[in-house]
Amino acid sequence: MAPTSFAELAQADCVHRRVYTDPAVFEAEMQRIYGRTWIFIAHESEVPNPGDFKTDTLVRRPIIIVRGSDGRVRVLANTCPHRGAKVCYTDYGSASRFRCMYHGWTYSTEGRLIGVPQRERFENFNPGADFGLAALPRVESYRGFIFASLSPDGLTLSEHLGAGTGYLDEFCDRAPDGTVQATKPIKYGYAGNWKLQLENYADPYHAAVLHQSALEIGRTILKEKYASAEFTPQSIRTDYYQRGYGSGHGIADFGHGRGGNWMNAYRNPAYFEALRAKYDEERARELLELDVHLMIYPNLLMHSRANHYRVIKPLAVDKTEVWAYPCRLGGAPQDVNDALILNTSHHVSAMGEVQVDDMQAFDWVQSGLQNETMEWVLFKLGGANWREDERGQFQCDSPSEGIIRYQYREWARLMAAGELAAIPGITVGT
């Protein structure tokens, strides 16, 4: 049966192709998911001082992330309320005010209107707070990670993140001083739906097949590179797990130490000593061996091993950008940070070793789903071992497609209301 409502598009272990191909579904997602829940926006280290700003887009809306003179970070519309022009024109910078270059209206770094040329000649014009740069109604941060919501009400950020904060903590705790600093992003784009990236990140099933060439050739060559560092390939663990945390967030474990030698950044005795001094030996090892993908639904992906986060930017039903931000670990030796940044680059860039394979797969899926005969996309791997653990989290063994099903439970919850318009199309087999 063809689905007649949004809710029916996502079944327990499969989703309908229209989830990836229907522009009406995409527009509904942008309202019901991106317009309602918490969206990751920026990291505080990108705007460390009063006046520091960054511009970006939140689903096509131009925004300014700016630290005001009061020290607070705001997310403002990059749109002059006079005629609608943008008022800030560079990616990053520092400013004492924003001045629209069209007619000269000027705004403070808190978004207040502070100057209107020839104001005495305006008619019926009493600019109060209404004529500032519109601020997003809710902005909160957790350990430097700034989230905002287009909706004035809903869960608090803390309620939304739930147990997912544990892995955000681990991401930051690997820094000897407990802070990370985001560098400028490495961006990639593909002709496919935004959820393909989210699913792929939760999917250890594909790695041995899709990335076979990258993994085998990469490891062989790098074995040679690290020969002098007593390179010892580690056995691949088989007891990987996946966890779901509520609100669609989850992790996919890729096996401790999988990348430990492949990405050899953490092998620095001074760095290990700094962590051991701060915690203890066991915790220091645990932090360094952690190799998980964390997904904060719907747009933030974190990579513990290559020490970066990625922001998913949906542009159209079949067009997506992903911006990957390599992070420096505060207080870690320079060579550790340099290596982490290079590792991220070589993982995700357009000439990297891994993400280019995934982008090719996204392209194949988006093309393949144009066949109406391919109605349902399957997520049936590892279905039997879901369980709720003692912390109230869902967990299953890996490799599994369980965490993808978990993402779609949240998708269906947020998308539930409303009828789905019928799409006229060919009828097959009659």
Binding site: G189, Y190, I217, I221, P326, H346, M351
Partner: protein
């Protein structure tokens, strides 16, 4: 070649121009192992992520590799299991505005050129304009690439897969 060659500066510069054209031809013909032979053992191959980037290592890169990693890249590129090579992209490098800046002793030179790279893949044609800067060394009478830096005009934007540039 090199210091022993009494040829005029313009003849010697024309030789380096032919050398970078030859390099481009090897890449377009997918003769990647032969391309590796044009590199010095300590080669640096760098495509910065932003035009104002400082020294490599301080910020992300599109690529920063040396001979070992480039050898791995070539083997991956020739490996039919590599998804990005299904089918292999076809490329055409256009180099213009070639300028040669000779080192003091004639055994090294910096060559800069404007680049226009076309890539055909899966029925899509993409263009990547930019600039190539080569540091060339004369090693035993043969010119070799000690460094190649490519500044792509679109480097700060979202890119999909790039072939060897």
């Amino acid at each position: 070649m090199g210091t022993a060659n009494p040829a005029s500066v313009s003849d010697r510069s024309a030789e380096l121009e032919r050398f970078v054209y030859h390099e481009a031809k090897l890449l377009d013909q997918r003769q990647f192992r032969a391309w590796l032979n044009l590199l010095t053992p300590d080669v640096t191959y760098w495509i910065p992520n932003y035009n104002d980037d400082g020294p490599p290592g301080e910020c992300g890169v599109i690529v920063l590799e040396h001979l070992l990693e480039l050898r791995a890249r070539v083997e991956r590129t020739l490996d039919p299991r590599n998804p990005t090579q299904q089918p292999p992209p076809r490329t055409r490098h256009f180099l213009t505005n070639v300028l040669v800046d000779w080192g003091s002793d004639g055994t090294s030179a910096v060559v800069s050129a404007s680049l226009l790279l076309y890539v055909s893949k899966d029925g899509r044609l993409s263009a990547f304009p930019g600039q190539c800067d080569y540091t060339l060394h004369n090693v035993d009478g043969k010119w070799r690439i000690a460094a190649k830096t490519i500044n792509l005009l679109g480097n700060a934007g979202a890119l999909s897969s790039l072939p060897i540039v």
